[in-house]
Symmetry: C2
Subunit: 378 residues, 2 copies
Amino acid sequence: MSDGKAGLQLRSLIKKSGELEISLANVPTPEPSADEVVVRVEASPINPSDLGLLVGAADMATAKASGTKDAPIVTASVPEAAMRAMAGRLDESMPVGNEGAGVVIRTGSSEAAKALMGKTVAMIGGAMYAQYRTIRASDCLVLPDGTTPAEGASCFVNPLTSLGMVETMRREGHKALVHTAAASNLGQMLNKICLKDGVPLVNIVRSPEQAQILRKIGAKYVVDSTSPAFMDDLTNALVETGATLAFDAIGGGKLAGQILTCMEAAINKTAKAYSRYGSNVHKQVYIYGGLDLRPTEFNRAFGMTWGIGGWLLFPFLQKIGMADALKLRQRVVAELKTTFASHYTQVVSLQEALQLSHIAVYAKRATGEKYLINPNKA
Amino acid sequence: MSDGKAGLQLRSLIKKSGELEISLANVPTPEPSADEVVVRVEASPINPSDLGLLVGAADMATAKASGTKDAPIVTASVPEAAMRAMAGRLDESMPVGNEGAGVVIRTGSSEAAKALMGKTVAMIGGAMYAQYRTIRASDCLVLPDGTTPAEGASCFVNPLTSLGMVETMRREGHKALVHTAAASNLGQMLNKICLKDGVPLVNIVRSPEQAQILRKIGAKYVVDSTSPAFMDDLTNALVETGATLAFDAIGGGKLAGQILTCMEAAINKTAKAYSRYGSNVHKQVYIYGGLDLRPTEFNRAFGMTWGIGGWLLFPFLQKIGMADALKLRQRVVAELKTTFASHYTQVVSLQEALQLSHIAVYAKRATGEKYLINPNKA
């Protein structure tokens, strides 16, 4: 298969019967059209945003392995209550992997495509958990000389998401940020951006160890949601920073509501008169992840001027338009080995990615555990 | 006191000790300045939006009566967990009553003020649960001849709120509405507006009796949240109407999330391809009330393009500006006895409003029970 005419591709399938099946399919590589290239994928991260498609709503505690070492199969059951949300993808075998990087090994006939021959490129567009990916030349980001595919594998999702948060803050008229699961790869990037740009950032973590990670890279405001003093600590940090916008990767549980409650308390510390409806300062939490799959719960103890909503990178990029999106992308390339450097705890092959022992680790979505798939790992 | 130089005023006080005290104070009526008038208040509704200030976060199951028949006092305890939200009003005796109507009995020296002498006017601005209210002439809405204070008592909150919902729908690019607690006084108004303006409206009620009330006034889409078929019924109504904006008076429990879930299901019924992030149609629920005081809970089974937020009349009116707000107000006066007619189940004096038997009814915030206070009831 070294000619790249065909290769392995990871597939996720949820059957009408309620069974998830993850497997490797041997698929022919589509021939590149004039404007396309074929990339040998050498690095693709497992982001939390990939897990939604990879394991769907399946209960991975029920996961079972079958198949062979070269063609492993993992099955697990999807709880009946969760099947409604899966309706759109039933019985459809889906490729996975939002972003990745690799080397261009074949090109279409256009000048733009031919110019990429042999280059190391970063890509976004799905189906990256595969040995080969045919993609439009314009969807490739050429990495600077001396950059490895592993270094460029996470060029899009985390860097653009963290830049998008700061950009959203500016566009919606806030002056500081709150971020949860803040010791994550993305959270560390966000700290580096905010330190560089002078944006006050309140980091919420879930352990003293995570707080330590952030303090080491220079974070000024770090509060631990497992501390008994959490609400007071958070309120104090909000008084100091004036943050009225939060990005929440947790989603489930009470955290989003606690943030709004503390924002309101911080605002009222300087309020002059009582208003039965609370302050009229807009407080916003955007939920962009679902590390905690439980329901979101809040008690509305924060007046009437608030919002909670979903936030997603692609609609955001569309909203700001091509020119501004390109500026963000250029910043990522310029600071790829500093601000936007990613760290991985494991590099696995496609087959290894289907081992239950690995799934047990990466499906936990634990902060500090970050997997990279190398589909062409020997 | 018939000269209006002093009169009774209802007061709500929450003490640092955690005790709510509602009482009647005899207060001097402020002399009107040049641009002000004194109104003898004859009708003021108890809206859900008044209860927040009147009883605060107190547990009214603990309410006790004391004082005398003419000067009754009601006390109740505020659960400790709720005291944080009360911080801004502690140990401050507060007047209550957002809106009301009455007759102008004395005026300042300006022409505008003098022109109101003897007129029946509607007012907004708080402290209406009182025998006399000194207020700026420009904050009075002169009612057409033949309109009683009782007919004009609810000129502002419910009429402008329901008009504000339709206006918000138009301004935010939606084409139909969902409303909860839909058989309420406000909900019936909203139905009349929507029928008149040709706006599809999905009414969510909590009993077959409430459904019946709305069908009788011509509502086309009525779904009952206590029915086992609720989710399917709601989804079908959303497919037919295309509603992607809801106004929710309930606030607590799972309803807001269920509405978003059904909106997403309705949108996906016509979707062409599976998107792991759900549809990219923005779905919005505005919570404008808190009939259910429990926490709000939702499971985020509706993609990433959604929002839940607070909605309040006054910030909305400020946002649309004076000229547009005036247009809404003019429509209210023009249709006061038709579209915007209110119905009350009880008319009580200030003393009667403090009887535990009445409090037990109006503090329930039950649909169909609507109290009017006449502070000058003989």
